[in-house]
Symmetry: C2
Subunit: 521 residues, 2 copies
């Protein structure tokens, strides 16, 4: 074959391949989930120091979703909802040990993600996706609950929060896994200096993410990267290069390093020329953890309270969708959307039918993302705390059926979910029921939930009747999952995770003495 | 002379003229000052409904200044400072009738801008500028205090707030002036429907502004337009086309109309091809008036409290500088800056030496605007309330020497400057002195002023010594002006403004019975 003819065939082949990628290949997915980062922590969302140039650029190149919500004001249930497309009360990530209690997966938790749930990476396998989670898992740390048992092909990260250091006798330090085996523990092989705030974990997570993208691209493999860095969760940390760089103190240093990492990941996609074939989404698991004080917590912008609560500050999240060539640059969409939509939307974009044997709470946002059309005008947002539906948003209106921050007892001990904020009758320190006459706010006029609409107005009555119908329908069809976060046991802690033998890091578990976990708020 | 030669000369002349404009002509000035609009009301500063596309575009084409302050948390003193480049305590726009009281220019005020002050339009006259104020004046309404007696060549607007309607017997309605004569009164010839919120005043003000720009350009006249629309001051209003358009209710409608107007003004400058020769600045007179409730007040974003207070919400202002070809597009500068800098900066850009017989508080921002260089690292911001220096910001630190929102008595009547916010020991309801041990906040870590830095830390002591030196220097050199806002008298109200005879709208003034004005907060 002569030279020119070879070139001709090659060119034809290239065009064909390029077209195939453009038109029919399902995209790769990168979901970047932050930990306790607040709505107001991004420059583009009004943080006064404006230290997120990469995220601001991502928004300028993609779509900003100012009405995006998590499914729970706490980490574990929120993450379970992202990966199952279902509310915690359905997927089992809640407790019935007390009324309206926030529950998660500390080391002593017995439960984890139910085997009956079908996680996003399991679904994506149908189309040959390879999936990796980098960072925090938080859906249970016992062997059967870990990522590689639940659809992920790779994992680098930890099953629980990076609390510690512990003495390994009463409580083991949290293990860090590489795939199915531990490779060390926090505060041991993976250092976090709580005094200086130094840790290079975000850099490790960044490299793990970049390396995964590089390898999958090389193998021409569609991929799902779930990048769940946790530097903004207390104890907040950053690597040496970023420490002291922010105007916002240590928390800001962590944000700057995460923002840098986002920039690096997007840049890697561009360098590999796969940015037009990779759907990227950035969000956070719950509102800023205001109880952690000024050095270790972020900002919920103009919203009320934060993490642990069902006010806007607890559950409204920063959210940016990015997919050059598919999502128009610099768009803003006000659709009420949820972290659970990422499940449904990803399946839709991958051309995979969602499971039809269960109710999904996620909606397919792709028509909005790709055409910027509002398709779900009457889509409600449900604000659960444990087993209780605390509030519902419908359009601009939000009705609170129950209000609670935390108990007076906790508050007097200094645990404050709403520092500097107090709205009489709204931020209550006992569980206050309003089911017969909910507190209703117009979030357009009053995003800070400070001025309940008078019950004597026509507006109130109109809204009440519309929201009541939604609630009735929701409750009537609700089949609650078996609660997974009820039982605790010191014996189930991370004493001897797989791989500990090789490292000589197995610890002896105490005798099993299970108890019903206590969830104070 | 043959055709081609004429063309040649003409072309040469045009090039010469164009070059002259580019290099040596002093620019025109447009200062757009909003009324009670808050820092958090702009999309670019995080308002969740993002309804300010023109302002957001203005920021994208110009420079955003997130650390820009007014000189007082109240309208009249703030406006007096803009036009004099001096703190209210120097230019006389304060009261000594009580300690740390906010005072302004209601109809019964006897005083106004002192004849000893030299206003910006008076200075600009030295270089042949023609100046117009459109909208709210608020520096005194008696004949000698009006704009055309104080340097402005034209005026369309009103001397006081658009409160009312009044019955014209106990209290006259506020007159609207066209230059030196009234052309009607609010709620009479110039309607504001308080029930529906409809008024076409912003449209009138917009046309007045556009017309002035058009005429000055036609006359090849350098100009200063001070565009002081007041639609976001309660009672909030918008014209029919904008009513009901916002997701934020009536206040949002007013913002949308003002945003539209900003867009029209910038567009006019472009159409006339003078955008490269016109320095435009957008800001507001004080923080959002949170006491006006959800329908008639804006947002101060993540900041504490609002109008009337010396917390950040009372005095940090949205600020955008725009000057295509001179100010780099899409820049953000964190310089601590003040509305008083507009005086000094304008004079600098116009090539006029500032008055040398008095202390000016404004700095020349032009090096920052034109080169984005930080030149004033140690520039303090002074937070006065009436005759008291309540707080000082230096770098990221702010020290409160006095704290006060308002009295318990007022609060119990429902007047709340910090609805939904309460920071124990900070938002105090009595005047609390902290001069020996000020409350100090780091505004980078804690923009909401919620967590005072512990007095036991080295950080506190370091900051205290630096700020104390600044305060000492400031107080030592302070020559307070004669307070202009001490005396009230029903006889001085707008009974018979110039021009009332022609309209048959003169009212009879009561006998003069002056009293010391009462300023409750």
């Amino acid at each position: 074959m002569s030279g020119p003819t070879l070139t001709f065939w090659c060119a034809l082949l290239c065009v064909f391949r390029a077209q195939k990628i453009e038109t029919s290949s399902p995209p790769n997915f990168v979901i970047m989930l932050m930990d306790d980062m607040g709505w107001g922590d991004l420059g583009v969302l009004g943080q006064p120091s404006r230290e997120t140039p990469n995220l601001d650029a991502m928004a300028a190149q993609g779509m900003l979703l100012p009405n995006f919500y998590t499914a729970n004001p706490l980490c574990s249930p929120s993450r379970a909802s992202l990966l199952t497309g279902r509310l915690p009360v359905r997927n089992g990530f809640y407790t019935t040990n007390g009324h309206a209690r926030n529950a998660y997966t500390p080391q002593e938790i017995v439960g984890g993600i139910s085997p009956d749930e079908i996680l996003l990476p399991q679904m994506l396998k149908k189309k040959g996706y390879v999936s990796k989670i980098v960072g925090k898992w938080h859906l249970g740390h016992r062997a059967q609950y870990l990522p590689l048992k639940n659809g992920f092909d790779e994992w680098f990260g930890a099953p629980n929060c990076h609390f510690g250091p512990y003495n390994n006798s009463e409580r083991p330090n949290i293990p860090v896994y590489n795939n199915s085996e531990m490779v060390g523990r926090y505060y041991e092989e993976f250092e976090i200096d709580k005094k200086t705030g130094e840790s290079n974990l975000t850099q490790i997570y960044l490299q793990e993410g970049l390396d995964f993208i590089y390898r999958q691209n090389l193998a021409q493999q569609p991929f799902f990267l779930y990048w769940a860095a946790d530097a903004t969760h207390a104890p907040v940390y950053a690597s040496r290069h970023f420490l002291g760089k922010s105007q916002r103190g240590r928390y800001g240093d962590a944000v700057m390093e995460l923002d840098y990492s986002v920039g690096q990941i997007l840049s890697k996609l561009r360098t590999l020329d796969i940015e037009n074939n990779t759907f990227v989404f950035f969000t956070s698991d719950n509102g800023a953890a205001l109880m952690s004080g000024p050095n270790e917590s972020g900002s919920n912008g103009p919203f009320l309270c934060g993490k642990e609560t069902t006010y806007e500050g607890g559950m409204r999240e920063p959210a940016i969708a990015w997919w050059p060539g598919h999502i128009s640059a610099g768009t803003v969409d006000f659709q009420l959307a949820s972290v659970m939509d990422l499940y449904t939307t990803s399946l839709s974009l991958a051309g995979i039918s969602p499971p039809d044997d269960r109710l999904l709470d996620g909606l397919d946002l792709s028509p909005i993302l790709l055409n910027s059309s509002h398709i779900h005008q009457n889509r409600p947002i449900f604000f659960y705390r444990g087993n209780e539906l605390m509030a519902v948003r419908l359009g601009q209106y939000k009705a609170h059926f129950w209000t609670w921050t935390n108990s007076w007892e906790e508050l007097h001990k200094g645990v404050n979910f709403c520092p500097g904020q107090e709205v009489p009758g709204v931020t209550t320190h006992e569980q206050k029921e309003h089911t017969l006459q909910p507190l209703i706010f117009h979030l357009g006029r009053d995003p800070g939930e400070k001025f309940p609409i008078s019950v004597l107005t026509k507006e109130y009555l109109d809204v009440l009747s519309r929201i009541s119908a939604v609630v009735e329908r929701h409750k009537k069809t609700l089949v609650a999952g078996i609660p997974q976060l009820n039982m605790c046991d010191l014996a189930v802690m991370n004493w001897a995770p797989a791989g500990c033998e090789k490292l000589g890091k197995c610890l002896k578990a105490p005798t099993s003495t299970p108890w019903k976990c206590e969830w104070p708020h």
